[in-house]
């Protein structure tokens, strides 16, 4: 093994020797020089990893301390030096071209920087640390000037000033330290067991404070943000990932010096930093500064983790390393990408779309930062939150998630801009190949890290990762034409369903939802065949969404459930984002999903409190039932879009692509319903003690039903109308679930199935129409029945089911509803539900009339029927509706049996006499009703056909018009603002209160962020004052 001292030697030597060379070849030499430490540290790391635990201690100048400086290389040091050296090597590769233009000076500085960082990690001598800290600072200050410009100069100067102050602290601290302890060596000090002197703690305070300030804690970090903003992104990457890493390690190394327990304070500092800087990030528009805020935030999170180390116990390593490595890789990657595209405003990042690889990496890094599965920090965060809950640190848990939420807010918005914002720049993106290498390598590292994180996580091995691998495979196969990929996905979903079936075939409830997810998935994918070309970036996310959905079904413990939930959210977010005008809506969707997911997260964590397993069943044994259930319910309600939390839904569903809308509306929403079902079952079903929660949820469901349906009535956009209708229908489901009776649950499941059938059908049919007419506005359509008869039939069947008119399946839901309401005794809520059911007529009529009936418009004289690939799934769904209408017993009987026999809902079940369902209130025979109505209908139709067989076919303007002729089709079609008088009567109920509320919250957050941001005046002196005040405040807090 090579002694690590050679790292210093080689780097320093090269730096000196470079001067001997002329320009030529310096770059290559530096690169080789930088590769050497990578090799050394990596070899040591693997050496340690393979079981050697002996820590290497070595000394410069061959003497013992205090005469020489001793360096230490254990597994930790090896790891950190390795990552820094890799970063250095890649960072240099990235900056190769810039350094070449700059000449040798910069290269020298860079080599010095890397050397300094290495020593910072390895050195055990405090004064030596100070020296190398200074070296690093000066090297960075020099490198900041790499990018020429006034702001660079100012930023570099501020940096120097701030670091000067910090160094002063450090130096004074060291001086006192030496005064009191007589040694500068950490190990000596630790071994000496010196008595605690009062002044000693002051010395250590100053030392640690300096290191903390080096870590840029909020709010004393204005200088650092200016640096991030102004410096060359390649350098920012080094600062953000490199020096921060070294500083964190430094803090970790120096902490044992203190006799006072610093950990709580570090946590508090970390928490303030994490929340504060993420909050400020919300209002940020400059991409580099945004990354700076994010960097600072992540360091805050790491500080929290370090501070929490005792509580985290054995999991500390995993948590810290995953969070650290995520930040390290992603931040460097993002800064590098920022340097490639050279855009400051986050809105201009839409240029990324010109290069698929860049866009992919950008998304990859952002998701890594956000902690979505399967990225490493997901495992870390999960473990962190769980451990915190286990140690009943609930406030910390809430703070961390709040900070993460803020971070999510700006990162997602940024991502939305990159994906969808209009790209106005004409110029081509010039990309140098060597600049692409580092981010690509880091992407690979992230993947590897994910793999290791998964393996080393306690529950990672229980995950079913096959779907995830399939997603990755689809990314690689993205060059294939769409229909090949579509077939592949359909086939894989069918095969997976078949494989899955034996596992869940004995659990009818899961089977139903698996059926909705998988059958629905296959059917909606059929529509995808009508898309020509490659359809890049569609199929991986479809699979991701369905993988998440099916993961929910398969989940056996909380971890798997949450993993699947996040995967599903992520996949659906990307799908929604694909729509033309969906940037804002996808953002809203993700925000609400993220919030909801965090609530679920907290709920899970709370139920873990005081328990040892992560099995789903611990929810029922939770020691904090009120909080746990409420949080979980709200979390799931964000997905089902209960009123108040619904504002993301209409836009997201309406603006999505034609075949994505049915996926997200007909199928995805059921994930929330499934979550609620799971929650309610675990709450103890019929024996549940949560009466008040259920009562509130019942009212919420009823109000959601009315609100959603009422809002649907006043829509002019066909897909928005359907989306609001989904809100209403999910309200029914929530309401029925909250009953917690046998029949109530049957109602909910019937509604889930019905809603899946008709909403998928309607969205597909309307999607087909929209595809042909290229508009969502119903009043622009009209009279399409003659052009699209099949779509018309689909919509007709759909709205009959929706409105609950016998004989179709919707009626079964209504009948069950009455029975459930009457058995439960929630009469007034029930009345609200039935009122909303009649409101459904209004929009159902508006939908079918405005689109298919009335006056055909000139523009659509030549439109064709919707593509056959849209019609096939529609017909399958129609057959499904017919079968379910005629023989509801086929599905409801087994579910009823399961509900009543599984001890969940033993009382008052639905009785089946052959095909007739009976309760002690009434009876219902879907089969007989179907036959009676069918026969009668056919007879009457035949009769009328015979009676008016000679009828003359006439055209659209052959209507009685008081002896006049209609003016134009557009003016004769009565559609726009159809229910104006209804609005006059009860329109006040549809005023956008929820939207107003959330807009207010949004505005408030932004205002707070904006106001706090003013402390960063841009003035160096102010920043110094910040640092001083900050130090004093911390001092006062501690002593």
């Amino acid at each position: 093994m090579v002694n690590p001292i050679y790292i210093v030697a080689v780097l320093l030597g090269t730096a000196f020797l470079l001067g001997l060379f002329r320009k030529k070849g310096t770059g290559i030499i530096a690169l080789v020089a930088l590769a050497f430490p990578v090799f050394v540290s990596a070899s040591w790391f693997f050496h340690f990893l393979s079981g050697n635990t002996e820590v290497l201690n070595f000394f410069t100048a061959g003497a013992k301390p205090p005469f020489s400086i001793n360096l230490q290389l254990g597994i930790e040091e090896a790891l950190f030096t390795m990552v820094i050296n890799v970063l250095g090597f890649l960072g240099y590769t990235y900056l190769y071209r810039d350094f070449k233009e700059q000449g040798i000076k910069s290269t020298v500085l860079f080599l010095i920087l890397i050397m300094g960082l290495n020593v910072l990690i390895m050195s055990r001598d405090i004064f030596n640390l100070f020296v190398f800290l200074e070296i690093v600072s000066i090297a960075i200050a020099g490198l900041i000037y790499l990018k020429r410009g006034a702001d660079t100069a100012i930023a570099g100067f501020k940096y120097l000033i701030a670091l000067g102050v910090i160094s002063t602290f450090l130096l004074i601290g060291i001086a006192f330290f030496y005064l009191f302890s007589g040694t500068l060596n950490i190990d000596d000090f630790l071994n000496s067991n010196l008595p605690a002197v009062k002044g000693m703690s002051m010395a250590v305070f100053l030392i640690l404070m300096a290191i903390l300030l080096e870590l840029k804690p909020f709010p004393a970090n204005g200088w650092a943000l200016d640096v991030y903003q102004a410096a060359h992104p390649g350098i920012s990457a080094m600062i953000s990932s490199g020096t921060a890493t070294a500083s964190i390690f430094l803090l970790y190394k120096l902490l044992p010096l203190s006799s006072i327990d610093w950990l709580p304070y570090i946590s508090i500092i970390g928490a303030i930093t994490f929340i504060g800087s993420n909050l400020l990030g919300i209002a940020q528009k400059d991409s580099n500064r945004l990354l700076g805020y994010s960097s600072v935030g992540q360091i805050g999170l790491m500080l929290i983790i370090i501070g929490m180390a005792p509580q985290l116990g054995e999991h500390f390593n995993l948590i810290f390393l995953t969070v650290f490595i995520s930040h390290f890789l992603a931040k460097a990657g993002l800064f590098w990408i920022s340097g490639i595209i050279k855009k400051d405003n986050i809105r201009q990042w839409s240029v990324l779309r010109k290069n698929k690889l860049l866009l992919f990496m950008f998304g990859f890094f952002l998701l890594t930062l956000l902690g979505f599965p399967p990225f490493p920090s997901f495992y870390g965060k999960w473990q962190l939150i769980m451990e915190l809950a286990h140690g009943s640190q609930f406030i910390w848990l809430a703070l961390i998630l709040a900070g993460s939420f803020f971070e999510g807010m700006y990162l997602i918005r940024w991502f939305g801009f990159a994906m969808k914002e209009k790209d106005e720049s004409e110029e081509k993106l010039t990309i140098h190949w060597e600049k692409m290498i580092p981010p690509v390598i880091f992407t690979v590292f992230v993947m590897g890290a994910s793999y290791f994180a998964n393996n080393s996580s306690d529950y990672g091995h229980t995950l079913n990762l096959i779907p995830i691998y399939f997603v990755i495979a689809l990314f690689l196969l993205d060059f294939l034409p769409a229909f090949v990929k579509n077939s592949l996905v359909i086939a894989s979903m069918i095969i997976y369903s078949i494989l899955l079936y034996p596992d869940i075939s004995d659990d009818t409830l899961r089977l139903v939802f698996a059926g909705i997810f998988m059958i629905g998935g296959v059917l909606t994918l059929f529509a995808g065949y009508s898309v020509k070309g490659k359809r890049e970036g569609f199929f991986p996310f479809v699979v991701m969404m369905y993988a998440g959905l099916i993961g929910l079904i398969e989940a056996e413990n909380l971890f798997q459930f949450f993993f699947a939930w996040e995967i599903m959210t992520l996949g659906s977010y990307f799908l929604i984002l694909r729509g033309k005008k969906s940037i804002k809506h996808a953002f809203n969707y993700m925000l609400f999903s993220l919030g909801g997911a965090y609530l679920i997260f907290i709920g899970f964590a709370l139920s873990y409190f005081g328990q040892d397993s992560l099995d789903l069943s611990i929810i029922s044994a939770t020691t904090l039932p009120g909080w746990t259930y409420t949080l979980l319910a709200i979390g799931f309600l964000t997905k089902t879009a209960a009123i108040g939390l619904h504002i993301w839904l209409p836009g997201a569903h309406a603006e999505a692509e034609s075949d994505v809308s049915p996926m997200v509306s007909g199928i995805l929403l059921k994930a929330g319903a499934f979550g609620l079902i799971l929650l309610f079952l675990l709450m103890g079903a019929e024996q549940s003690e949560q009466h008040s929660l259920l009562y509130i949820l019942g009212w919420l469901g009823a109000i959601t039903a009315v609100g959603g349906n009422l809002l649907a009535v006043f829509q002019e956009d066909a897909k928005r109308l359907l989306a609001y209708s989904s809100v209403g229908n999910l309200g029914y489901i929530l309401f029925a679930l909250a009953f917690m009776t046998n029949v109530g649950w049957l109602t909910a499941i019937t509604y889930s199935i019905n809603h899946f059938l008709f909403k998928t059908l309607l969205f597909l049919a309307i999607g087909g129409v929209v595809m042909r007419v290229k508009t969502h506005n119903m009043y622009e359509m009209g009279g399409l029945i003659k052009k699209m008869p099949w779509s018309f039939i689909a919509v007709l069947i759909g709205i009959i089911t929706l409105a609950g008119i016998p004989p179709l399946a919707g009626y079964g839901g209504k009948w069950l509803f009455y029975n459930a309401v009457l058995t439960k005794g929630w009469y007034f809520q029930g009345a609200l539900i039935f009122f909303s059911g009649t409101i459904a007529f209004l929009y159902a009529f508006k939908l079918i009339y405005s689109v298919f009936l009335g006056q055909p418009k000139d523009k659509f004289r030549n439109v064709k029927e919707a593509p056959i690939w849209y019609l096939i799934p529609q017909f399958i769904l129609m057959i499904g509706i017919m079968v379910f209408s005629a023989r509801p017993d086929l599905i409801l009987k087994p579910i009823g049996t399961m509900l009543s026999q599984s001890n969940y809902f033993p009382t008052d079940p639905l009785n089946w006499e052959d095909v007739t369902a009976t309760t002690n209130l009434g009876y219902w025979s879907g089969y007989k009703i179907m036959i009676v109505i069918g026969v009668m209908f056919v007879v009457l139709l035949g009769w009328l056909m015979i009676m008016s067989r000679k009828a003359q076919k006439i055209k659209q303007f052959n209507i009685v018009y008081a002896g006049e002729r209609p003016f134009t089709p557009g003016t004769t079609h009565f559609s726009h603002n159809m229910f104006s008088n209804y609005y006059k009567a009860i329109g006040f109920l549809s005023w956008p209160v929820a939207t107003g509320f959330w807009n207010g919250v949004n505005l408030f957050t932004h205002n707070v962020a904006d106001n706090i941001r003013r402390i960063y005046s841009g003035n160096g002196q102010t920043y110094i004052v910040h640092i001083m005040i900050y130090t004093i405040v911390i001092y006062l807090l501690m002593f």
Partner: protein, 302 residues
Amino acid sequence: MSLFTRILFVLLGLFITLNWGLIMSGIIRKIIARLSMRRGIKVVQPYINLIKNFSIRSQLTHGVMFYLGPVFRLSGGVGVFLFMPMIYGSIYWTNFSFTGDLILISYFLFFGMLGMALGAGEGGHPYSAIGIGRGLAQFTAIEVPMTLAIISIAIQYNSLSITEIVAAQQGGIMNWTMVTNPFATIAAMLAFLGMMGHSPFNVVMAPQENPIGPPTEYHGTFLGVLQTNRAILHVVEAVLFMNLFFGGATNWGILILKTFLIYFYTVFVGMVFPRFRVDQSIPWFFKIPLVFGILAIVLLII
């Protein structure tokens, strides 16, 4: 009873219902005429109108849905009849009521409405759509007191089966829902006004401002079908309310008497009150009938 006999009796019952519906509307028109000191139409005028409409020689059609509209409408009317037990205690006149209960009927009423709405929509006449929009809007409001009343009855009798509800009311007028649950009766009867579409809730068809609403384009045979349905539906709806609130009927005579009175009540109110606009009628339903409906339930709960 064999299926064949049942179908035979159903057809017979349908025939009686249709005829009674036509005669009833004739009689009512006659009474109205006498009230305004006219001789008025012949009692058989509805028959003549019906024959006339079926004898129209030429027909026009706007499209398939224009055809299907009246079929849906009549299916709605006949269907409600089929699912309605007409005479209590008779095995012959219970039709197909074993397939479903009160909820089936109250939702099957929509079947015809939907068909009419679609057929009229296909006609392409803006007034049709305006009429339907008004009708549906008004219906949502009507449904609220109606639902409350139905829930109230279901709580009272602990059943949704019409036959059982009628059975519970047997044995004298004191057992009728009208007496035992007056608030539900009031709420439902106020809703009934709206359902029947007479003044003051006839803005759907308002001839002076909206030629005739949904059926503007319908004529000849189509109109005949609609009239047939109207005759049947008026009787059947009256039978529904009779069964729910007024003790049902044990023979056709009582049925005829009670349905006549119930129907007459709506016409009577219609003669007295002027027409509401939709934005007036909806708030009205949310006031008085709603209060009665809530009272009906609250009183039963406590």
